[in-house]
Symmetry: C2
Subunit: 300 residues, 2 copies
Amino acid sequence: MKKYLGIDLGGTNVRVAKINTEGEIEQVVKGPSYGLESADKIINNLFSLIRLIDNLDEVVGIGLGVPGPVDQKKGWMNMASNIPSLGKYPLVHVIEEEFNIPVAMDNDANVACLAEAYFGAGKDKDAVVYVTHSTGIGCGICINRQTISGAHGFAGEIGNIIVNREGDKINHLNRGAIEIEASGTNIVRKAKERIDENIEHAGQVFNLAFKEDNKIALKIIDDMTTDFAIALANVAHVIDPDVFVIGGGVTKSKDYYFEALIDKFKSMVHEGMKETEFQVAQLEEPGLIGAAMLPRSKGE
Amino acid sequence: MKKYLGIDLGGTNVRVAKINTEGEIEQVVKGPSYGLESADKIINNLFSLIRLIDNLDEVVGIGLGVPGPVDQKKGWMNMASNIPSLGKYPLVHVIEEEFNIPVAMDNDANVACLAEAYFGAGKDKDAVVYVTHSTGIGCGICINRQTISGAHGFAGEIGNIIVNREGDKINHLNRGAIEIEASGTNIVRKAKERIDENIEHAGQVFNLAFKEDNKIALKIIDDMTTDFAIALANVAHVIDPDVFVIGGGVTKSKDYYFEALIDKFKSMVHEGMKETEFQVAQLEEPGLIGAAMLPRSKGE
């Protein structure tokens, strides 16, 4: 069975795993990523971790999941706020030179989508859209088990999709962008403003709404499902996926809102699109597994 | 040089063209399509037209552009309001059986996108989004010269993208859908309601705005560019194309609104996406040429 390395490179930690074609993790090594230090320091540390993998010579490809948009032509991150020295640094090329193995790289969300497309909730589906509903809202897209990165690496950056042009303006995102309206952080923000400034987690807002029948909390959740449905309907009118795979912390409360979300989505799409599936993400380690499948998806 | 047949099948007329790998049209035959009659009548008529092509045996593939969403697994139109008897009719299979040549089919907008990606304003670009800005608003998507059809054939049906949830509700489309707000038909509708019920063409509204400084007409066009920019920014946050290729009748007035449209788009996207190109569609016959390139894009 072929073996791949999957690397999950974050701003704080980095993990390197050997993974087989069944998606089984055979070995993991990890350490700090030194994200705020020089590119040399980050790369030499990464090389050292890779060399800790047993029987490295049986590996046929290396894949990296990174926290920023990837320019596939250049093989670098266009921007990397958590690992600034790797912004526009030719990471793919440098790793290929060192290990003489094909290397592929994509952003976290695309990598997670690829993992779900190979082994998880999107298995055997041609068009898979993976959405993270967490502190932020992100998205990865796979068509025929190929990630869609876009011309500048920003494909799937749906957090900035405008769902309510009269909505809130908070940070660099668009006024009324879906992330501003419906992410976990912003469910909490709205609940702090409108109910109690001591609220800290989206789960508390769900409890207030559905266990204590708090009308303001119910309205916040109802607005969230409307906003989220508009965003997913907009995505569906571009990609028309077989399945939306939804991951991230907010899905812990899925029993409270998934049905409403799906009903609203169906009311906003063409007849033939109403059978679009909604699934919760299934994999424990989509970041490592998806990264490892990147070179495989490119024929290695 | 390889030769392909491109077929432009509409509700009223059908055209069949022999086209080479340079995108040159070598021969065209045409006739009524009998769109409202039986599938047998439509198909036998189509077969007769195909047989009028000289040296048919040199053709290596047949491509069809059709006015409806195409299920690629089934090789049929999921719905076909202009040619009802071909809804869920296995058109690809039937033509392949008759001529023993590979056949591919996609909707009008995807086919036009493919033509522009091979020979027009999207030439040499990896990710091309083609938008028709006409009586309606449609869209085709090509990545690496492959059309994106979606799970149910509805990829690129961006006319139903919600840009203004408080906007107008007219037909089966969503309230405030981009087609309802910004298509040529709806520029005219708004001008009839607000200026003069005798207005008949979008061009008249542009003239009122920019030659006669009519404030209401200026507002209608300004709203249109805002709505259109929101829709294209939403699409860009999903696909992140190299280039938007814009075709359709409204682009005749491009000198009056393209600059404003692009400026607004840039204000709504991430920094790295601001270099996204905007081009006007270049080809005279994107329907025929793109249809012919469908089998080529699949390796024929």
